[in-house]
C-alpha cells in the first residue's frame, strides 16, 4: 500500500484516478488546486504523485519541482492530453518516472502505477543494501 497524491484541475478526472487506485488498496488523496496539494505534501509523506501536465495556475512540471523540494524521494507519473516531444522531455527531465497520454484507461493506469511503485521499491532495496 502506498500513499498517492493526485492533482488534476478537472475534479471528475482526479476523483476517477483516486477511485481506480483506491481499489488497488492505495491511500489516495485527490486535489484540484496546486496550493492545497503542496500544503498536503508539506505535512504528509507521499510515495507517488499523479500530476496532470496542465493545471490552473502552474504546470505539472513546476508542481513536481516543488514537490521534489519538499520530498526528494517522491516518485511521479505525469498525465497529459498534449503529448509533445518537448513536454515529455521536460517531465522526464524533472524526474517523472512515467508518462501517460490521456485519455488514460483504467488498466493502463493500474499497470503504470504498479510498475513505478515496484521500481521505486527495487531502488529503495538497492539503497538499503
Amino acid at each position: 500500500m502506498a500513499t498517492i497524491l493526485v492533482l488534476d484541475d478537472v475534479s471528475a478526472s482526479g476523483v476517477m484516478v483516486q477511485r481506480i487506485l483506491s481499489r488497488k488498496g492505495h491511500l489516495v488523496h485527490a486535489f484540484f488546486d496546486e496550493d492545497e496539494a503542496l500544503r498536503f505534501a508539506k505535512s504528509e509523506e507521499v510515495d507517488l504523485a499523479v500530476l496532470d501536465m496542465k493545471l490552473r495556475k502552474m504546470e505539472g512540471v513546476e508542481v513536481l519541482a516543488e514537490l521534489r523540494k519538499l520530498q526528494p524521494t517522491i516518485r511521479c507519473i505525469m498525465l497529459t492530453g498534449y503529448p509533445t516531444a518537448d513536454s515529455v522531455e521536460r517531465a522526464l527531465g524533472q524526474g517523472a518516472a512515467a508518462y501517460c497520454v490521456k485519455p488514460v484507461e483504467k488498466q493502463e493506469l493500474e499497470e503504470t502505477v504498479a510498475a513505478v511503485l515496484a521500481d521505486g521499491a527495487a531502488q529503495a532495496d538497492l539503497l538499503l543494501r
Binding site: 478537472v10 516531444a85 490521456k102 485519455p103 483504467k106
Partner: protein, 520 residues
C-alpha cells in the same frame, strides 16, 4: 603755186613717210598673223589680220604712187606720172575706202562679238548652274538612297525583333480581324491549343475557342467598351476537347470612328499555376482544419477519458450483473471508437515523425501490405493486378506510416468496388523529376466530380455510418506530406495505361527520391 617756199623737206617727208608706212603695215600683218595662229578661232584676230592686209594694200597703193611720182618728177619724166597719176589715185581711193569700211564695221563687229560673248557667258553660267543643280540632285538622290537603306535596315531589325518576340514567346499571342476570327497566332499558341499547324487555327472564330459563352461575351463587351482587358481568366478549348486555363491581356484595334476592328492579345497558360494553387489551398485548408481538429481533440480527450475510466470502474462493480455489464461494455466500446478517432485526428494534425525514417523499397512495402489485405479482397472476388517497375531506387519513409497509407488506399479501393473487380497497383520511377510514383487504381464506382475536391478533407466520407470515419485520406495526406510527397486523385484516370486496365479511379502517391548526390 607756193614758189616762195622750198619743197624739198616736204618731198623728203612724203618719200620716207610712204616707205615707213609700207614697213609698218607689213609689220602689222605679221603681228596679226601671229595672233591668228595663236588663236585661229578668234574672230577679232582674223578681222585684224584682214584689216592689216587692207592697210598694206592701202600703204602700197598710196606710197608706191607718191614714191613713183617723186622719182619720175626728179628724173624728168613728169609726163609719165601725169599718165599714171589717175590710176594711182583711183587705186589709192579704193584701198582707202576698203580700210574705212573695215574700220567702221569693226565697231559693229565688236558689238556683235560682245553680244555673242555675253550670250556665250550666260549660256556657260547657265550650263554651270545646271551642272551644279544636277550634282546637287545627284547628291540628294544618293543621300535619299542611303537613308532608305538605313531605314530599311532599321525596319528589318525592328521586324525581326518583334517577329522573334511573337515566334519565340512561350505565351500564346494572337490577332483577330473585324469578323472576330483569328488572323494570326504564334507557334506556342498553336501548340497550347493542341494543333499542329498554324493554318488549322487561323480563320477560326475566337468565340469557338472559349469554353464558356458567357466569358466570351464578357471579353467582347469589355474590349468594345473599354478598349482593353487585363488578366482576364478564361478556359480555352483544346483540339481534343480538354480545357486550358488561360489569363488573357488584350487590346482592341479601333478605326478612326472607334469601331472595333479586331484585337491583339497575349494569353498565359495558367493550368499548371492553377493546379499548384489549388494544391496549396488544399494544403492550407488541411492545415487549418488540422489545427481546429487538434484543438477539438484535446478538449474532447479529457471528458472522454473520464467517461472511459468511470465505465471501466462500473464494469468492475457490475461483473455479477450481465445485463448492466453488457450495457457498460457497449459504452466502453463506443468510447474507445471515439478515442481512436481523436487519436487519428491528432496524428493528422501533429506531423510528428513518430517512427524512424529509413530507406525503403516501395515494391517491398506494397507487397507487405498486400500480404495482409489481399486475402480479404479475394474474399469479395477482388483481384490485385501488379504492375511493378524493376530496379526502383529506394525512398526514405517511415515504413510503419507508409504501410498505414497503403492499407488505407487498399481499404478505400475495396469499399469503392464492393465486390468483384480489380485493384491495380503500379510503381514507377520518373527519373527526370526524381520522383517515385505509386498508383492504386480500382474498377469501382468512381468519384463524383462534385465531391472529388473534398475527399481529402477531414471527416469527409461517402461511406455509410460505421464503415469510415472520414479521416483515412486526411491522415494519409498528412503522412505523405511529411515524407515530402503528395497524393493526387484522378477519377477517371488520365493515364491511358490505367484507362486501358479498366480503372475508374486512381490515387497517385508521389514520393521524392533522394539520390546519392543529395545526401552527399
Amino acid at each position: 603755186m607756193n614758189q616762195g617756199l622750198p619743197l624739198l623737206p616736204l618731198y623728203l617727208v612724203d618719200f620716207f613717210g610712204a616707205g615707213l608706212m609700207i614697213v609698218l603695215s607689213l609689220l602689222a600683218v605679221r603681228q596679226a598673223r601671229r595672233l591668228t595662229r595663236l588663236d585661229p578661232e578668234s574672230v577679232l584676230w582674223a578681222y585684224l589680220f584682214w584689216l592689216s592686209i587692207a592697210m598694206v594694200a592701202f600703204a602700197l597703193s598710196r606710197s608706191v604712187g607718191h614714191i613713183l611720182r617723186f622719182v619720175l618728177v626728179l628724173t624728168g619724166f613728169p609726163s609719165v606720172w601725169q599718165t599714171l597719176a589717175p590710176y594711182s589715185g583711183g587705186f589709192n581711193s579704193l584701198a582707202f575706202a576698203a580700210v574705212a569700211a573695215l574700220t567702221f564695221s569693226f565697231y559693229n563687229m565688236h558689238r556683235v562679238f560682245a553680244r555673242i560673248r555675253e550670250d556665250a557667258d550666260k549660256l556657260a553660267a547657265a550650263h554651270r548652274e545646271l551642272g551644279n543643280a544636277h550634282a546637287d540632285l545627284h547628291k540628294l538622290n544618293q543621300h535619299l538612297e542611303d537613308r532608305v537603306t538605313v531605314r530599311t535596315l532599321e525596319l528589318t531589325l525592328s521586324e525581326q525583333k518583334f517577329r522573334r518576340l511573337f515566334e519565340g514567346s512561350k505565351d500564346m499571342i494572337f490577332f483577330c480581324d473585324t469578323t472576330g476570327r483569328v488572323s494570326d497566332i504564334n507557334d506556342s499558341g498553336v501548340e497550347l491549343l493542341g494543333y499542329e499547324h498554324r493554318r488549322e487555327v487561323v480563320g477560326k472564330p475566337l468565340a469557338t475557342l472559349f469554353a464558356d459563352e458567357e466569358k466570351w461575351s464578357q471579353y467582347y463587351c469589355k474590349l468594345n467598351s473599354v478598349g482593353h482587358i487585363m488578366d482576364f481568366e478564361v478556359e480555352f478549348l483544346r483540339r481534343d476537347g480538354s480545357r486550358l486555363y488561360m489569363m488573357i491581356t488584350a487590346s482592341a484595334i479601333l478605326d478612326a470612328n472607334r469601331n472595333l476592328q479586331g484585337c491583339e492579345a497575349i494569353a498565359k497558360d495558367m493550368t499548371r499555376f492553377r493546379e499548384v494553387t489549388e494544391r496549396l489551398i488544399q494544403s492550407e485548408n488541411m492545415a487549418s482544419v488540422g489545427q481546429l481538429a487538434a484543438g477539438v481533440a484535446h478538449e474532447i480527450n479529457t471528458p472522454l477519458g473520464i467517461i472511459l475510466g468511470y465505465t471501466q470502474l462500473l464494469k468492475e462493480d457490475f461483473e455479477q450483473q450481465p445485463e448492466v455489464f453488457d450495457t457498460l461494455q457497449i459504452v466502453e466500446k463506443q468510447t474507445k471508437i471515439c478515442k481512436r478517432i481523436v487519436a487519428d485526428l491528432l496524428k493528422f494534425s501533429r506531423h510528428t515523425t513518430s517512427g524512424e525514417m529509413t530507406s525503403s523499397s516501395v515494391n517491398h512495402c506494397i507487397e507487405e501490405v498486400l500480404s495482409v489485405v489481399e486475402h480479404s479482397l479475394n474474399m469479395d472476388h477482388i483481384y490485385v493486378q501488379r504492375e511493378f517497375a524493376d530496379n526502383l531506387p529506394e525512398v526514405v519513409v517511415d515504413r510503419e506510416r507508409m504501410r498505414q497509407v497503403l492499407v488505407n488506399m487498399f481499404t478505400n479501393a475495396h469499399h469503392a468496388i464492393g465486390a468483384e473487380g480489380i485493384v491495380g497497383v503500379w510503381s514507377r520511377y520518373n527519373e527526370s523529376c526524381r520522383e517515385m510514383e505509386i498508383i492504386i487504381g480500382d474498377t469501382g464506382s468512381g468519384i463524383e466530380p462534385t465531391v472529388i475536391g473534398r475527399i481529402f478533407d477531414p471527416f469527409f466520407t461517402t461511406k455509410g455510418v460505421g464503415t469510415g470515419t472520414g479521416l483515412g485520406l486526411s491522415v494519409s495526406f498528412g503522412i505523405i506530406k511529411d515524407f515530402g510527397g503528395r497524393i493526387e486523385v484522378q477519377s477517371p484516370p488520365r493515364d491511358p495505361e490505367l484507362v486501358e486496365a479498366g480503372m475508374h479511379t486512381a490515387f497517385h502517391i508521389v514520393l521524392p527520391v533522394e539520390t546519392a548526390g543529395d545526401t552527399g
